[in-house]
């Protein structure tokens, strides 16, 4: 069938449009959406255990059908658009939040390519040679969704939430962008597959490369990433105790669910990028330590190198997602001027210093 399709649309169009489209749809519907559904459940369960309660446990054993019930509920909810809302912007905003997060996933390598592993499958959708630029550009678009949603709702609380988001974006895009420069300097390539390859060749994850610069860059990237995805302690745009629900106060049903989806998709994207750029992506830890060679997982029956890469990538990803949830259980919320203080007075000088330091190191040593 694929062959017939290739014949029908011509090989160029097939390679550059149809094939990636199918891959990304498969990734979204088979990979990311179920992951998000169960991430929400996992968050509620983990928070429950941190907070001496049980979490959802009514729908299915241990509540494992809870996400299904949630989605069914959100789908049948009435979709309210306030009378005075700006309709086109109101409708557009949730899509602007969700779409970029999913698109970024297209360039993230969550396993080795076919030639690297010697298998039949590429564990990524596409390998763009300006992958890092693409990621930064797309990540910025998501914030517009929040600002537009806050403005279009024509509600004061939403407006304040949207404005907070704008302030947050200005403060955090810069340190985040600069912290991405550092793995770029280390790897000498912008392709994300290339960055992982460079970590393999240099025999060290970039978080430990040029110590301590890699570590600082990783730290800055993660702090800015938490702020970027509006999670505790930087969940100002939707601070429920201050702004009711912030930018999505007026959203109901599936449109609200899209914002929700966007937030979790962003968490996954930020974590996946952190894993790829700083923690070796799909590489197993300690590849060149003799006694640790069991970590390549090849002793498990039917394990291929590709699958082992996927497992390592997922393990690192889940560790990050756990840290997100842990933050939420632990921290109070920053005030938005304090958040900007942190961004401008600490993170930006620190990241500039780090970029400078890595540059000097690379040229002189």
């Amino acid at each position: 069938m694929l062959e017939a399709l290739r014949e029908a649309v011509g090989p160029t169009l097939f390679t550059y449009a149809v094939s990636p489209l199918f891959k990304i749809l498969a990734l979204i519907f088979l990979g990311v959406l179920p992951l998000i559904m169960y991430l929400v459940l996992a968050e509620r369960k983990i928070l429950g255990f941190m907070q001496v309660r049980l979490g959802p446990n009514r729908v299915g054993p241990w509540g494992i059908l809870q996400p299904v019930a949630d989605i069914a509920k959100l789908l049948v909810k009435e979709d309210v658009i306030p009378n005075k809302a700006v309709r086109w912007a109101f409708v557009l905003a949730p899509c602007l939040v969700v779409a970029p997060a999913f698109v970024i996933l297209a360039v993230i390598p969550f396993g080795p390519s076919a030639e690297q592993s010697g298998g039949a499958l590429d564990f990524f959708i596409t390998d763009v040679n300006v992958g890092l630029l693409f990621v930064v550009a797309m990540a910025t678009v998501g914030v517009y969704g929040i600002i537009i949603g806050g403005w279009a709702s024509n509600s004061k609380f939403s407006l304040l939430g949207g404005l907070r988001s704008a302030a947050q974006m200005i403060s955090y895009e810069i340190p985040q962008g600069f912290s991405l420069v550092i793995p770029l300097l280390m790897a000498g390539t912008m392709s994300l597959q290339g960055v992982v390859g460079a970590q393999f060749e240099q025999g060290r994850w970039f978080v430990f490369q040029f110590f301590p610069f890699g570590l600082i860059a990783f730290f800055i990237y993660f702090v800015a990433g938490v702020a970027e995805s509006n999670r505790n302690p930087f969940d100002l745009p939707e601070a429920e105790s201050e702004l009711v629900a912030g930018f999505h106060t007026e959203y109901t049903g599936m449109r609200f669910a899209l914002f929700f989806l966007g937030e979790y998709a962003n968490m996954i994207v930020i974590s996946a990028l952190a894993v790829t750029l700083f923690l070796g992506g799909w590489l197993a830890p300690f590849p060149n330590v003799g006694w640790a060679s069991f970590l390549d997982l090849q002793w498990i029956p039917f394990m291929t190198p590709g699958l082992a890469g996927l497992i390592w990538f997922s393990a690192k990803l889940f560790a990050f997602l756990f840290v997100y949830i842990w933050f939420r259980g632990t921290f109070p919320r920053y005030r938005f001027d304090q958040l900007m203080d942190l961004g401008w007075k600490w993170l930006i000088p620190l990241v500039l210093f780090t970029v400078f330091g890595v540059g000097i190191w690379k040229t002189l040593l």
């Binding site: 309660r53 105790s241 702004l243 109070p332 919320r333 304090q338």
Partner: protein, 378 residues
Amino acid sequence: MGETGAKPGHDTLFDVEEMELALGPQHPSTHGVLRINLKIDGERILDSYPIIGYLHRGTEKLFELHPFFQNVPHTDRIDYVAAATNNLAYVGAVEKLTGITVPPRASYIRTILCELQRISSHLLWLATHAIDVGAMTPFFYCFREREQVLDLFEEYCGARLTLNCMRPGGLPFDLPVGWTDRCSAFIDKFPAKVAEYEGLLTNNRIWKKRTVGIGVLSKEQVLQYGITGPMLRGSGVDFDLRKATPYEAYDEVDFDVPVFPNGDTYDRYLVRMEEMRQSARIVRQCLAKLPDGEVMAKRPRVLKANKGAEAYFGIEGPKGEIGFYIVGNGTPNPDRCRVRAPSFYNLQVVPELAKDHLLSDLVAIIGTTDIVLGEVDR
């Protein structure tokens, strides 16, 4: 609460349009049905004007329609998270009016109930205050312990929230068998739990950033506004009715009154945390010293106060001085009953505190005043 006129308080580079924002009465952090009309410039609060009365039930008038004994349940509903202290303030005023002396065992049990109530009220305050500032987990920890206090209340009088656990002249019942053991088991464990909450918040950088220097009240201001309770002691005034005019068993137990000098939200937090520890200390001593005997004084079946007789009795409630002023008229009903509710006085200062702070701080400030709207509106 003053004028609501716009006050151009600071310079801006651009022409800024002021926005009016009605926070409440349905808002997650106004602790009930408080409404605050705000004038904001961006997120900076230029002016704020609390509007109260959404929970007005005419309680003071209701007191006049019922005999002294039947009025106790009304007091439960004034500050509905601290029923025992309300009960005590009311029955204390009636006892003062009619000259009844309470047996010592009843005094001790009343002290225990009031201090447990202070613990549960402060726990509720900490839970909601922390969640206002964005920390979610302390809420559940506090409710875990509050639940145990409420279980103790339930075992004693059958109710968990609206206790109705005191009568003019004493108490309706003696303690159930084994109650003192269960109470002391809880009290022994409780200080460690307070340390747990403090571990999450006291030295947390974000918590400090959100509370230190926020809503500073000077010594003069608290005295001018008639503010009492932890807000007074958080501003460096060492005044506690339990020490100043000891009632019930408070002069027979040892406890400290925590006082912190800075008058900001953080100091008020520290005061309340320490008060919880001191309350546990008081309860422990009361349980050890608990005398035997009756829990109800000899008193007439129908209480009557002489015409024109009047009495005021104020106690240190969890939120400040809660007092009842009662006038008799020769019938079994009071002629007039006026409630001095601490939240009402403490709320007055919110506009002053919120001025020139940000919207996020307003939420912390409402939290730190520890208001209960049932008490403000009555």
